[in-house]
């Protein structure tokens, strides 16, 4: 051989070895890495939140500061001091950017107290008792002259002003103004009395706007002194807590007649309520106690018919009394201040997110509107700012799999409801109903598919004529190739209406077909004596049975409506509802059983048939030679030897049913209910992913939860398939095929 050529082919061989080995490894690794990658997307759901100290320095004249705040870009901070000065400063170093003087309408300069709520709204109580509501607003601006550099522009807007009350300076004041301009002021004056000032803007019949003012005094009968007050953002819900652990709720929505809804003992041991605030959405109330206990409450429909404030969640306890409570303005996170520092808790998931514990006690703190940064001022005048990373506070293993008591619900539930029109809506992302739906659909499909496929496979491999078998096997394999979108479409648009129309006939044929089979077999007893007919028993039985089945189904279809008339007043569905309380969904588990069963049968059939055919013929011959009948041989000899293969086939079929998407997407109602009834639909994991993922914001909680459900699907099928595959490999080793 030519040495040059030899060199060439050797070089080619080496190159090929490299390319194939590297390529093969890479491909196989990358395919195996799929799970890791989807798991990686869902992993941040469970990562603990963290806080990073951004800046820390002494704030000048910190001793006089009444409130602080910060923009959401972590660039500009501000402080309001007791002389009404609003000072903007650079968050990084505290250098002053701007200084404004705030004034009350009466001209008072001294500021007594500041209460912060909503999106950097401050209600300022002046020394003469007058009150203003100011909102600090930030927005980015781009300076064209300076290479489009971003600057943060700040602006102050006075939203409302209230004159001083006649009784002089109150002990505490709360004020709100809502989007329609309705203004509410609540003053706590001595002896547990609350003064109410309500100003409503109304349009009269001439179209002029006029304001109507109402004053009320609320004097609840309480055993203790009011220690905490909370007012909803629109000023219509007022709550008060006392040092005896009592909780009072008023409804202020009717300006003429504010009503006390209820008074209840929140703490049975008469522990003082030290802090109150409303959670984002203004439905739930967070209650902090003197012993550091932190609970949230919202009204739940009671048995008597009214709505009663009920204790729902308990959050992480503080070591000492809860000093202050504030909501996040993005989600249901509650921030609570105790002597041991700041706690971040998510209300619904009851997840303790984060603890910030500066060296000195905190005097003021404020979360940015986006909820990703916090500014705080300590007693010692140190200004601190943190960057917070709390990506998915509402997700915990509890909310994903356990029952959760969502706001506005009567009881804890498993619920999947990912979106709604309103902003303060809380997504309900429980995977339990979806897993339940997946398993339910799979169960009904397997219920139909396994017996049909197994008996069919037994017949094909053991009894059918070889010539017929060579036709049946490819036919079933082709059946496996029918796209599931087609099966789903037919199930939904053809089968579902058909079954809805003839439900009675369906049930009738469930009884009639076995009965007709029995009858047929009995008649056959007589007929098989005739020699030409006996030939049917040599592998043509299934052809002989087919007309019996078709005929019986036709009879059932004809008799069905009459039977429904006779037994169920003409409408089986109505009867089901009124007698059994079962709602009939047109797209239900019967449809799924048929459609998904149809999709799964060929898979189970093929694998089971293969393993049955692979049982060595000598076994069969031995059994038959000992005088066993053909069925006894199958039942006692062949089935046991083929059982691993049959099991593997069923497992693979199960895996396929679990992951099937298009059929369930089209042929179920996609309602996430947990109900075993065969007349209901469900919402399985796979269809849920297909429906929701196009709308899910990238890297949001929903997006990651959907990836998590993909991981669950993956793991479910992976376990099942691996088990089946190992069994199959054993079988192959045993019978020496491949």
């Amino acid at each position: 051989m030519n040495p040059a050529f030899r060199k060439k082919i050797k070089r080619n061989d080496r190159i090929a070895r490299w390319v194939i080995s590297v390529g093969g490894m890479v491909i196989i690794c990358s395919v195996v890495l799929i799970l890791l990658l989807i798991a990686k997307v869902s992993l941040p759901l469970f990562l603990p939140p963290d806080a990073q100290l951004h800046a820390s320095y002494r704030l000048e004249s910190a001793g006089h500061v009444q409130a602080i705040g910060m923009d959401e870009y972590l660039e500009t901070g501000y402080s309001i001091d007791e002389r009404g000065q609003l000072r903007f400063f650079n968050i990084d170093d505290g250098s002053e950017l701007d200084r404004l003087q705030l004034r009350s309408e009466t001209g008072a300069r001294g500021l007594v107290a500041v209460e912060t709520y909503g999106q950097l709204h401050h209600s300022l109580l002046w020394e003469d008792g007058s009150l203003t509501i100011e909102q600090v607003k930030f927005r980015p601006a781009f300076d064209e002259a300076d290479h489009n550099r971003r600057r943060i522009v700040h602006r102050i807007e006075q939203l409302a002003a209230f004159p001083p009350p006649a009784t002089g300076r109150p002990l505490r004041s709360l004020a709100r103004v809502d989007a329609e301009g309705r203004r509410t002021r609540v003053d706590l004056i001595a002896e547990n009395r609350l003064q109410l000032q309500l100003v409503e803007i109304q349009e009269n019949f001439l179209g002029e706007r006029e304001s109507r003012e109402a004053h009320h005094e609320l004097a609840p009968e309480l055993s203790g002194n009011i220690t905490a007050l909370a007012l909803s953002g629109n000023g219509k819900q007022l709550y008060a807590g006392t040092d005896q652990g009592e909780l009072v709720r008023w409804d202020l929505s009717d300006a003429q007649a504010p009503a006390r809804i209820e008074t209840l003992q929140a703490h049975a041991d008469r522990r003082a309520i030290t802090a109150l605030n409303l959670v984002f959405g203004d439905i739930s109330l967070a209650v902090g106690g003197a012993d550091g206990q932190l609970t949230t409450w919202f009204p739940v429909r009671s048995e008597e018919g009214g709505w009663r404030l009920t204790r729902i969640h308990e959050l992480r306890r503080h070591a000492g009394p809860v000093l202050a409570l504030s909501p996040s303005s993005r989600d249901k996170t509650v921030i609570s201040l105790g002597e041991d520092g700041l706690h971040f808790d998510h209300m619904t998931s009851e997840r303790f997110l984060l603890k910030l514990q500066p060296d000195a006690p905190l005097r003021h703190y404020q979360l940015t509107t986006r909820g990703d940064a916090l500014i705080a001022l300590t007693e010692s005048g140190q200004l601190l700012s943190w960057k917070l990373r709390i990506p998915h506070p509402e997700i915990s293993l509890g909310t994903l799999f356990g029952k959760v008591w969502y706001e506005g619900y009567d009881a804890p539930v498993h619920a999947w409801q990912s979106s709604s029109a309103s902003d303060d809506y809380e997504p309900k992302l429980s995977l339990t109903p979806l897993i339940y739906g997946t398993l339910k659909g799979t169960f009904y499909a397997m219920l139909l598919a396994v017996p049909l496929a197994l008996f069919g496979a037994i017949y094909t491999s053991q009894f059918a004529r070889p010539r017929l078998r060579e036709m049946i096997k490819p036919a079933v394999e082709i059946m496996a190739a029918i796209p599931t979108v087609i099966i789903g479409f037919l199930a939904a648009l053809w089968l579902a209406p058909l079954i809805e129309r003839s439900l009675g006939s369906l049930f009738l044929s469930l009884i009639l077909v076995p009965a007709a089979l029995m009858l047929g077999i009995l008649l056959w007893q007589a007929a098989r004596k005739l020699e030409p007919l006996k030939r049917v028993e040599r592998g043509f039985e299934f052809l002989a049975v087919a007309p019996v089945i078709i005929l019986t189904v036709a009879i059932a279809a004809a008799l069905g409506p009459g039977l429904e008339n006779l037994l169920f007043d003409g409408d089986l569905k109505q009867w089901l509802f009124s007698e059994l309380g079962t709602r009939y969904d047109p797209r239900n588990c019967i449809i799924i059983a048929f459609a998904m069963g149809f999709a799964v049968i060929p898979i189970i059939f093929t694998i089971a048939e293969d393993s049955l055919s692979n049982v060595p013929p000598s076994l069969k011959a031995a059994s038959l030679a000992l005088g066993a009948s053909r069925w006894q041989t199958v039942w006692r000899v062949i089935l046991p030897s083929a059982s691993p293969g049959i099991f593997a086939g069923s497992m693979i079929g199960f895996g396929r049913a679990v992951g099937e998407t298009m059929i369930v997407l089209m042929a179920t109602g996609n309602t996430a209910i947990m109900d075993l009834s065969i007349f209901n639909g469900m919402r399985p994991l796979s269809a849920n992913i297909a429906v929701e993922i196009p709308e899910a914001p990238v890297d949001g909680s929903l997006y990651r939860t959907l990836f998590l459900s993909a991981v669950i699907l993956f793991v479910m099928t992976f376990i099942v398939n691996t088990a089946a595959e190992i069994i199959r490999q054993r079988l192959r080793a045993k019978y020496g095929r491949f």
Partner: protein, 257 residues
């Protein structure tokens, strides 16, 4: 232990030991194969005769975990030396297998396979070589009209002779035959044996066989192996008539094996 020395041996085996993983299958064999003679390797199943044969063209390299110690010299060069080109070696040492294994290609393509992979493109030369090889394998007359038909359509004996033609087409010095007739009917066997007689004119042949009559019929020299050891080596006539060794005698008289 026989100590027959051959003049000008083509293949010399010196203290060859062969391991499958930790198990030793050949325990130090010394042998010399004369050029242009037929040497038969005989012995009971599992005695290592096929393994020994496969050491001569390094087919055992394909077995995972196998290891060779000792030397095999082909025309004075150690085939287990680092510098040995395994491809060149296999072109010089052809092989015919127990089970005939023509490729699912035409008869023509089967014969020239070795030349093709060696980079030969000259059509005329290929045609000539096909004819000479098939003639050499006594197959030409049977297949000359259907050279481009699939080889899998031939009879078992024809396929085995095709494999021989395929082996001699690359002009090797040695042909190894691993029980070439064990899957053939007596008539085909006779033809192949006849062919071996023809081939000894041009090639050095080493044949492994189970069948002592066959060894006696076709070979000039015979080596008897037992449990990985060379028991006796000598001229076939001498070995079958007057074996030196008791074990050899027992084996060839059919007392075991």
């Amino acid at each position: 232990m026989s100590t027959l020395r051959i003049n000008n041996p083509l293949i010399e085996v010196e203290n060859l030991r062969f391991y499958y993983g930790a198990a030793r299958a050949i325990h130090g064999v010394d042998l010399q194969f004369p050029e242009k003679q037929v040497t038969a390797l005989i012995g009971p199943s599992g005695c290592g005769k096929s393994t020994l044969l496969r050491c001569f063209n390094r087919m055992n390299d394909l077995v995972d975990g196998s290891r060779v110690e000792g030397k095999v010299l082909l025309a004075g060069e150690d085939i287990y030396a680092r510098s040995t080109d395994i491809i060149e070696l296999r072109r010089r040492v052809g092989m015919v297998f127990q089970k005939s294994n023509p490729f699912p290609k035409s008869i023509y393509e089967n014969v020239i396979y070795g030349l093709r992979i060696g980079g030969e493109k000259n059509k005329q030369l290929l045609d000539e070589r096909v004819e000479s090889s098939l003639k050499g394998a006594a197959l030409w007359d049977e297949v000359k009209d259907r050279l481009h038909e699939n080889a899998l359509g031939m009879s078992g004996g024809q396929m085995q002779r095709l494999c021989i033609a395929r082996a001699i087409a690359v002009n090797p010095r040695v042909i190894l035959m691993d029980e070439p007739c064990s899957a053939l009917d007596p008539k085909s066997t006779a033809r192949v044996e006849e062919l071996i007689g023809e081939l000894r004119k041009d090639f050095t042949i080493i044949i492994v066989t189970h069948n002592m009559q066959q060894a006696a019929r076709v070979s000039d020299y015979t080596a008897f192996l037992f449990e990985g050891n060379l028991i006796e080596f000598g001229q076939t006539k001498q070995l079958f008539v007057t074996p030196h060794n008791k074990q050899t005698e027992d084996y060839i008289t059919g007392r075991f094996g």
